[in-house]
C-alpha cells in the first residue's frame, strides 16, 4: 500500500496537473484523479492524508466529491479550494458535510501551509509522545454540578492559613497601586480586589527560565531531566487567566505532553477570584473570559462582606471539607452574586466590534492589507506584549556550560514571535524579517491560528499587552476592530458620499426628525437614500440646500460612529435656515459634502482632553464628544466645559444630562446669568478653567464658540501650561462653494472650508486675519 500525502480530485486535466506539479515540487507525494470514483478507489488502495478539490463552475461537483470521500474515509482531511464568493461556498460545504477546510486560491502558499500543518499533526499523532512517560490525562476530578458555599472572611483567612502551612502560596500583592503575584505567608498582605497583575499567574506553571536537563559533557555524555515537584497554590486568579491556563493545558498536556508543565500543573492548586474591577484596557467579555465555569479548584467571589466559594474539583472539595464557618448561600446572596457579575461585565471599556467566530475568516481576508504595515510602523520589537501575555508560550532552549567544562544545563526561557530574531535560522534567513510580518503574525496567531489548532481562542482579553505597549499598538481588540472597520468601510465604500467627486449637485436627503433645542434652535435628523453614509469626521460640515432658497454650510452635530443618519443643529438666522425651521419630517433637502478638515483626531487620541464650547459652539463639538464617548478607550481623561448666556439658552440639554451621568466624562457647566431654577455655576466660561487639574504634557484642548470667547479662554488655557500646538479652535467663516474656490472663507492664503475650519493656534499664528 502506497502512502500519498495528497489526493487531488479535478475533472479538468490542466488544473489537476498544475496543482499536482506545484505540490510535488514542494516535496509531497501527490496523486491526482479526475472523478470521484477514481478518488474513492485511490483512497481504498492507498493511505491518503489530504484530499483537495477546486470549486469552479466547471468542477461543480467538488463539494459532493469531497463529501463522499470524507464519509467513506473519515480520517482524510478534506480541503476545498474556493474562488469567491467564498461565504456561500463555505456555507454550502458546511451544510453538505464536514469539509474540513475551505481556502481561497490566493495566496497559493496558504494551501501549502495548511498541508504542512496537517501532515505535522498526523505525524505527531502516529508517533505519539516520544521519550515522555506521561500520557495526557485529566488533572483533577471535575465536580458536577458546581456547588456554591459561603465563607466568612475569618473562615477564608483560616483556609488560607491551612494552605500556607504546607504549600508555597502565590497571591496578589499591591505595590504603588500596581499588582503582582508574590509568595505570601500572611493573609493580611494579599489583595483579592485588584484590576490585573503586571505578569500573569501562568508564569508559575510555565516560568520565564527553567532548567529542563542537567547535562554531563565529555566522553560519556548524559542527560538527567530536572522536574520540580514542589507543591504550590495560586490564591486569587481571575477568570481570564484561568481561561489562559485552559489553553496552556491543551498545548502542554495534549499531544507531545511536556513533563515540566504537567508536574507543575498537577502540583498547583488554583483558587480563582471573580474580577469585579476590570482594568481599563481589558475586554474579557468579548473573548468569553470574564466568567469561567471550570478550570479552577475553587472560585471565590466577595458577597456582602463574606465570600462565596464555588467548588470546581474534587481537590477543591477536599480543601473545604471539615472547615468551620461554611454555609449554604441565601437566596439574597445568590441574587447579589449574579447582579454584581452583571454589573462587572458592564464596566469593561473595550469591546470587540466583531463576533469572535468571524475573526479567523476576517483576518484571512485582510492578510495583505496595508493596515499591518501602517500599524506596526512604531513597533519597537521589544517583546513586551508577548512577555506579559497569559496565552503566549513560545520558548527558546539553549545549553549553558559551566566553567568546569564538564557540566551544563539545558535551559528553556520565554521567547516571542514579536522579537526580531524569533524566525531567524542558522543560515541567516529570517522568515519574519519585518515588523509588519511579526505584528501581523501575532494578531493572526491570537485570532486565527490558535483557534484553528486548539479550538480555544488565543487571547483572553486581559488587556496586559495594551498597557505594556509603549507605542500603544498591541491591543488585539483594537487591531481586530480596525480590521473589522476596514472591512465595513470596504463594503460601504460604494455607499458613502465621501470619496465621490465634488460637484454642485446635491444628494437628496430625507428629513426624518425635527426637534426644538431652544426657542431659536432646532435639531434636524437627515437620512441619505439607500442607507448611504456621509462618511464624515467630527468637526466637518455639509452644504445644505433648500431648492429655490439657497445653500448654507452647516456643521454636523453627530458623530460618524452613530450610523444611519446625521444630525444638524441649526439656529434660525438666515434665509436657508429660516426655511428649514419651517420644514416637517418627510421633507427632502439637498446635501453636499462632507467639507473641511474636522478635528485633529490623530493629535487628540491617547491624550487627556479639555473640550470647551460656548453657546451653539456645542453644535460641532457635540460630534467630537459623541465620538470620544463611543471610542472612550482611545482617550485619556476627558473634561467638557460648557457655557451659555442663560440656563434656557443651553442647547442639547439631554446630551448634557447624559454626559454628566457618565463616570468616564467630566462635565462642568456655567451660565452668564442665572435664574431661580438654576442651581449650577454662574459666571463666564473662563471662570471654569482655573479649578481644573491638568497634566500639560499629555493634554489637548479644543475650543468652539463665539469669536469673543476665544481670546479669554485661550489665555486661561495657556496659564495652565498648554502650548500653541495643544489648543485647537474651530473658526466660523462665510462659505459658498465648500470646495476652496469662491473665496468667501479665505483667511490670508488659506480657505477655511478646505484647510479648516479647525486650526491649532500654532497654525493660526501665521494668519493675521484669523485672530478671533
Amino acid at each position: 500500500m502506497r502512502a500519498y500525502d495528497i489526493l487531488i480530485i479535478d475533472g479538468e486535466p490542466i488544473v489537476r496537473e498544475s496543482i499536482r506539479e506545484w505540490l510535488a515540487r514542494a516535496g509531497y507525494n501527490v496523486e491526482a484523479v479526475g472523478s470521484v470514483d477514481d478518488a474513492l478507489e485511490a483512497a481504498s488502495e492507498h493511505e491518503i492524508h489530504v484530499a483537495v478539490a477546486d470549486h469552479r463552475p466547471d468542477n461543480a461537483g467538488a463539494i459532493d466529491m469531497l463529501c463522499r470521500v470524507k464519509s467513506e474515509h473519515p480520517k482524510i482531511t478534506t480541503v476545498l479550494i474556493a474562488s469567491q464568493p467564498s461565504h456561500t461556498v463555505e456555507e454550502a460545504a458546511a451544510q453538505a458535510c464536514e469539509v474540513d477546510h475551505v481556502l481561497r486560491p490566493f495566496p497559493p502558499d496558504r494551501l501549502e501551509r495548511l498541508i504542512r500543518e496537517t501532515m505535522r499533526s498526523i505525524h505527531a499523532e502516529r508517533e505519539g509522545p516520544v521519550g515522555v512517560g506521561l500520557a495526557p490525562e485529566p488533572l483533577a476530578e471535575v465536580v458536577e454540578p458546581r456547588e456554591t458555599f459561603v465563607l466568612s472572611s475569618v473562615a477564608l483567612k483560616a483556609l488560607f492559613d491551612s494552605l500556607a502551612a504546607s504549600n508555597r502560596v502565590f497571591a496578589v500583592v499591591e505595590r504603588e497601586g500596581k499588582y503582582s503575584y508574590q509568595a505570601v505567608a500572611d493573609f493580611a498582605e494579599l489583595s483579592l480586589d485588584f484590576d490585573t497583575t503586571l505578569l500573569p499567574p501562568t508564569r508559575f506553571l510555565f516560568p520565564p527560565r527553567e532548567t529542563l536537563l542537567d547535562l554531563r559533557l565529555g566522553a560519556s555524555p548524559a542527560a538527567e531531566p530536572v522536574v520540580s515537584e514542589e507543591a504550590s497554590v495560586l490564591f486569587g486568579v481571575h477568570p481570564y487567566d484561568l481561561r489562559a491556563i485552559e489553553l496552556l493545558d491543551e498545548v502542554f498536556m495534549g499531544q507531545q505532553p511536556d513533563p515540566n508543565y504537567i508536574a507543575r500543573r498537577r502540583n498547583t492548586i488554583l483558587i480563582g477570584i471573580e474580577c469585579l474591577r476590570p482594568s481599563a484596557t481589558a475586554f474579557a467579555p468579548s473573548m468569553d473570559a470574564d466568567v469561567v465555569e471550570s478550570g479552577f479548584d475553587l472560585m471565590l467571589a466577595p458577597v456582602n462582606g463574606d465570600f462565596a466559594v464555588i467548588v470546581g474539583t474534587e481537590r477543591g472539595s477536599k480543601i473545604l471539607q471539615g472547615r468551620d464557618g461554611i454555609r449554604a448561600p441565601t437566596d439574597a446572596e445568590i441574587a447579589a452574586l449574579s447582579a454584581q457579575r452583571e454589573a462587572a461585565s458592564k464596566r469593561y471599556r473595550v469591546q470587540l466590534s466583531v463576533s469572535r467566530a468571524r475573526l479567523p475568516r476576517l483576518l484571512e481576508d485582510y492578510y495583505d492589507d496595508p493596515y499591518w504595515g501602517d500599524r506596526s510602523r512604531t513597533c519597537l520589537s521589544c517583546g513586551s506584549c508577548v512577555m506579559v501575555c497569559p496565552t503566549c508560550f513560545c520558548f527558546d532552549v539553549a545549553d549553558q556550560v559551566d566553567l568546569d567544562l564538564s557540566t551544563a544545563r539545558r535551559v528553556r526561557r520565554w521567547d516571542g514571535c514579536m522579537l526580531s530574531d524569533f524566525a531567524l535560522v542558522a543560515s541567516g534567513e529570517n522568515f519574519r524579517a519585518t515588523r509588519e510580518d511579526r505584528f501581523r503574525h501575532r494578531m493572526f496567531r491570537k485570532g486565527k491560528y490558535l483557534v484553528e489548532r486548539y479550538g480555544i481562542v488565543g487571547c483572553v482579553g486581559c488587556g496586559r499587552c495594551t498597557t505594556a505597549c509603549l507605542p500603544r499598538i498591541a491591543s488585539p481588540a483594537e487591531a481586530w476592530n480596525e480590521i473589522a472597520e476596514i472591512d465595513r468601510a470596504e463594503r460601504r465604500r460604494t455607499r458613502t458620499l465621501r470619496g465621490k467627486a465634488d460637484s454642485y449637485v446635491p444628494h437628496m436627503a430625507t428629513l426624518k426628525r425635527v426637534a426644538p433645542l431652544t426657542e431659536r434652535e432646532k435639531v434636524f435628523e437627515l437620512r441619505l437614500p439607500r442607507d448611504q453614509e456621509v462618511g464624515h469626521q467630527p468637526g466637518q460640515f455639509v452644504m445644505v440646500s433648500v431648492p429655490g432658497i439657497g445653500e448654507a454650510p452647516i456643521s454636523i452635530a453627530s458623530s460618524p460612529t452613530r450610523r444611519g443618519s446625521i444630525e444638524l443643529a441649526i439656529r434660525d438666522t438666515g434665509n436657508v435656515t429660516h426655511a428649514m425651521h419651517g420644514l416637517a419630517p418627510g421633507a427632502v433637502l439637498g446635501v453636499r459634502g462632507p467639507f473641511g478638515n474636522g478635528f485633529p483626531l490623530e493629535a487628540l487620541e491617547w491624550r487627556d482632553l479639555i473640550l470647551i464650547a460656548g453657546g451653539i459652539g456645542l453644535f460641532p463639538l457635540r460630534s467630537l464628544i459623541q465620538y470620544v464617548a463611543d471610542r472612550r478607550d482611545r482617550f485619556g481623561d476627558v473634561t467638557i466645559l460648557y457655557g451659555a448666556r442663560s440656563p434656557e439658552e443651553r442647547v442639547f440639554t439631554v446630551d448634557l444630562a447624559e454626559w454628566s451621568r457618565r463616570e468616564d466624562l467630566t462635565l462642568r457647566q456655567t451660565v452668564d446669568q442665572g435664574s431661580e431654577a438654576w442651581g449650577g455655576h454662574v459666571g463666564v466660561i473662563t471662570t471654569l478653567i482655573p479649578s481644573i487639574v491638568i497634566q500639560p504634557a499629555k493634554t489637548m484642548a479644543v475650543v468652539v464658540g463665539p469669536p469673543v470667547m476665544y481670546r479669554f479662554v485661550i489665555g486661561e488655557l495657556k496659564k495652565k501650561g498648554l502650548a500653541d500646538d495643544q489648543i485647537a479652535v474651530s473658526l466660523e467663516r462665510h462659505m459658498k462653494c465648500g470646495t476652496g474656490k469662491c473665496g468667501h472663507c479665505q483667511i490670508n492664503g488659506i480657505y477655511a472650508c478646505q484647510d479648516g475650519p479647525v486650526f491649532t493656534l500654532e497654525e493660526l499664528n501665521v494668519l493675521q486675519e484669523a485672530v478671533a
Binding site: 513586551s384 567544562l405 520565554w414 509603549l470 499629555k698
Partner: protein
C-alpha cells in the same frame, strides 16, 4: 578544542585596558570561588597587568577593556591584535565607547583646554574617543557598563568548547518583563530599554532606576518609534537627544 583532552597546553588568556575605569576586568573575576578555580584550571592567565607581573608574546584570547583616545593607544591595540588569535571587547568602553562618548560632544582642543588649562599643549589626544572596532577587527563582544560576570563566564566556557558565543538580539524589555518589573514609563520616567540589547537581566530597572543603554543598540532598533514614545512622555527634543547621548553617540552605532 575539547574538554578533558589530556595535558594539552591550556589556552593563554590576556587582559588589556585602555581608556576606562577598569571595572570590567575586576568584574570578570566577580564569580564564585569555585568558578574562579575552574577558570584558573581551564586557562592560563598570561597577562593581566592589574593583578599580575609579567607578560607574554602571543595570546589565544585577549580581552580588551577601554576606548581608544590616543594614537599611541591605537598602536598598542594593533600590536595586541597581531599577537592574539581571538580579540574580545570587554565592556561598553571597548564595545561602543561607553561614557567616554560624552567627551566627543566637545572638540578635543577645547576639552583639554578646559581641563588642563595652560598645560593643555602637553597632551595629545585623538579628535574623538573610539571603540576598539574602529581600530582593529574584533571577534566577539561582552557588552555592558560594567559587564555581566555570568555572561563573561558563559562566553569563556563557550569559546573553550568551540561554540560560537552569542549575544541576545532582543531588547532589555524582554528581561525586564521576565523580572516582573513595572515599566519605567508607567512610573512617569523614561528609559532606552526598548532599543538596548538585553543580557543584563534588566539590572538597572530591577534596582529601581531606568536603562541608560550601556549594552548598545539592538540589531534593528526602531529609533523613530523610540523618539515618539519619549516625545509622548513629554520630553523636549534636547532631552531626547540627551537620552541617546551617553551610550549611543560614538562608534559604528552612533545615532
Amino acid at each position: 578544542m575539547t574538554p578533558r583532552a589530556g595535558r594539552v597546553r591550556k589556552p593563554g588568556v590576556a587582559f588589556f585596558d585602555f581608556t576606562c575605569c577598569e571595572g570590567c576586568q575586576l568584574d570578570a573575576l566577580n564569580l564564585t570561588e569555585d568558578q574562579i578555580m575552574d577558570l584558573l584550571r581551564a586557562v592560563e592567565i598570561v597577562e593581566f597587568r592589574e593583578v599580575k607581573t609579567g607578560g607574554c608574546e602571543s595570546y589565544d584570547i585577549s580581552f580588551v577593556e577601554g576606548s581608544i583616545a590616543r594614537e599611541e593607544d591605537a598602536d598598542r591595540l594593533r600590536d595586541i591584535r597581531e599577537r592574539s588569535k581571538t580579540v574580545i571587547a570587554l565592556g561598553a568602553c571597548a564595545h561602543i565607547g561607553g561614557v567616554n562618548c560624552l567627551r566627543n560632544l566637545v572638540p578635543a582642543d577645547a576639552a583639554l583646554q578646559e581641563v588642563y588649562g595652560d598645560a593643555a599643549g602637553d597632551y595629545d589626544i585623538l579628535d574623538t574617543v573610539l571603540p576598539i572596532d574602529a581600530v582593529i577587527d574584533v571577534d566577539y563582544v561582552i557588552p555592558g557598563c560594567p559587564i555581566n560576570p555570568e555572561e563573561f563566564a558563559r562566553t569563556v566556557a563557550d569559546l573553550l568548547l568551540g561554540k560560537e558565543p552569542r549575544l541576545p538580539r532582543h531588547p532589555v524589555c524582554v528581561e525586564c518583563k521576565m523580572a516582573g518589573n513595572l515599566c519605567v514609563f508607567e512610573k512617569g520616567q523614561t528609559c532606552v530599554g526598548p532599543i538596548t540589547r538585553a543580557g543584563c537581566k534588566a539590572i538597572c530597572v530591577t534596582a529601581g532606576r531606568h536603562c541608560w543603554g550601556c549594552r548598545g543598540l539592538v540589531d534593528d532598533p526602531n529609533i523613530d518609534a523610540q523618539r515618539e514614545i519619549l516625545d509622548d512622555a513629554g520630553l523636549t527634543v534636547e532631552q531626547i537627544l540627551e537620552e541617546f547621548r551617553i551610550y549611543f553617540s560614538c562608534g559604528k552605532e552612533a545615532l
